[in-house]
């Protein structure tokens, strides 16, 4: 099993050392990476638990799908 992690040994050591020597940078990057991960991972998870997104707010008038009815009573006499 150890051979699976061997290629990543140096990366793990670098992260361990950075977390102790430059904690501000390390944890800022951690906080920053959590954001996009949440954006990708959480909506499908919520949908799988039954969350239904609310209907989108209409941004235009819902036009009927039929020909225009001719108007009457507005002609000049």
């Amino acid at each position: 099993m150890a051979f699976l992690f061997r290629p990543f040994q140096r990366s793990y050591n670098y992260l361990y050392r950075t977390a102790h020597e430059k904690p501000v940078m390390f944890y800022s990057v951690v906080l920053g990476v959590i954001g996009p991960v949440m954006t990708i991972a959480i909506p499908p998870l919520r949908e799988s638990f039954g969350y239904v997104p609310p209907p989108a707010v209409p941004s235009s008038y819902p036009l009927p799908n039929r020909p225009r009815r001719p108007l009457s009573g507005y002609d000049d006499e």
Binding site: G32, I34, P36, M38, I42, R46, P54
Partner: protein, 332 residues
């Protein structure tokens, strides 16, 4: 514009400015009394009852002093610097601060941008003061102050940007109304902490006051200013402190919101009183920090901004809207 509307506008402005100038005067005595309390002494207690008239005595002393203008100074900028500092800090009160529901002089929809723009313009007064004095130490103090203010404006803007993400509006009244359910200091406590650090640096308060500390550079950029120009700098500095305290209470403490346990039928506007009480809390915090923390060296001040606060600010700017999008609670 009709003359009567001009007169009413002037009365509106005076109704705001005069109490603010009084508040600034009393802020000086509050600071001295509170610092004395922290240091187990009494503070000013001779002039007036409990020393309440001390600020007026200080103002009279400073006004009656001789105004000394260095002969090789740039006279125009020498006078313009303190005037611009005071004017820009008082302008922040005029347009956008809501003292109650519908009680702002002009309920500007971009109030936050206006406030940030004024704080950026306030840097010019400090730059002109140090340069116009034609003195090495004043110039050094002014350059240090300018660099510190510009650096911490980034942190201040980042903190305010996070509030804007949550509310979807630049308007102060909207931000206050949205806090009816919960004050933003509760979910955004880390943001409040680095916002407050940025405000301390913007107002050049301890622990970020190396550039105007008496033991370091005499009085920094205002070394050569005396009497009335110095009064203007002093008033401008304390007006900024009270203004930023008010903005802190609007952004994080719910502004004029109060628990509506009774219907207010009286002529008294309790919302303004609540805003005033909430403004006193950050003012107290300013003086508490001054009494408690040692001063930072200038290189430590700049390193704190660029190497420590800015990465956290950027991380929070990425994290907060991601949370809003992930949980589908985007306000716009």
């Amino acid at each position: 514009m009709h003359i009567s509307s001009l007169i009413f506008n002037l009365i509106d402005v005076l109704c705001v400015i005069l109490p603010i100038l009084l508040a600034v005067a009393f802020m000086t005595i509050i600071e001295r009394k509170q610092l004395a309390a922290h240091q187990r002494r009494v503070g000013p207690n001779t002039v007036g009852y409990y020393g309440i008239l001390q600020p007026f005595s200080d103002a009279l002393k400073l006004i009656l002093k001789e105004t000394i203008i260095p002969s090789h100074s740039n006279k125009v900028l020498f006078y313009l610097a303190p005037i611009s500092t005071l004017v820009f800090s008082l302008l922040g009160w005029l347009m956008v601060i809501p003292f109650g529901k519908g009680l702002a002089i002009s309920d500007y929809s971009l109030g936050i941008l206006y406030t940030l723009a004024l704080s950026s313009l306030g840097v010019y007064g400090i730059l002109f003061a140090g340069w116009s004095a034609n003195s090495k130490y004043a110039f050094l103090g002014s350059l240090r102050s300018t660099a510190a203010m510009i650096s911490y404006e980034l942190i201040l803007s980042s903190a305010i940007l996070i509030i804007i993400f949550l509310t979807g509006s630049f308007n102060f009244t909207t931000i206050i109304e949205i806090q009816q359910s919960i004050w933003f200091i509760i979910p955004l406590l880390p943001v409040f902490i680095f916002y407050f650090i940025a405000v301390l640096a913007e107002t050049s308060r301890t622990p970020f006051d190396l550039q105007e500390a008496e033991s370091e550079l005499v009085s920094g950029f205002m070394t050569e200013h005396s009497s009335v120009p110095f009064v203007f700098f002093f008033l401008g500095e304390y007006s900024s402190i009270v203004l930023f305290s008010c903005i802190t209470s609007i952004l994080f403490l719910g502004g004029y919101n109060m628990p509506e346990v009774f219907v207010n039928d009286s002529i008294f506007n309790l919302q303004s009183i609540f805003l005033g009480i909430k403004t006193c809390l950050p003012c107290f915090l300013f003086v508490l920090v001054r009494a408690t923390l040692p001063r930072l060296r200038y290189d430590q001040l700049i390193d704190l901004c660029w190497l420590n606060l800015l990465p956290v600010a950027v991380a929070l700017i990425i994290l907060v809207p991601s949370i809003l999008v992930a949980f589908d609670i985007v306000p716009y």
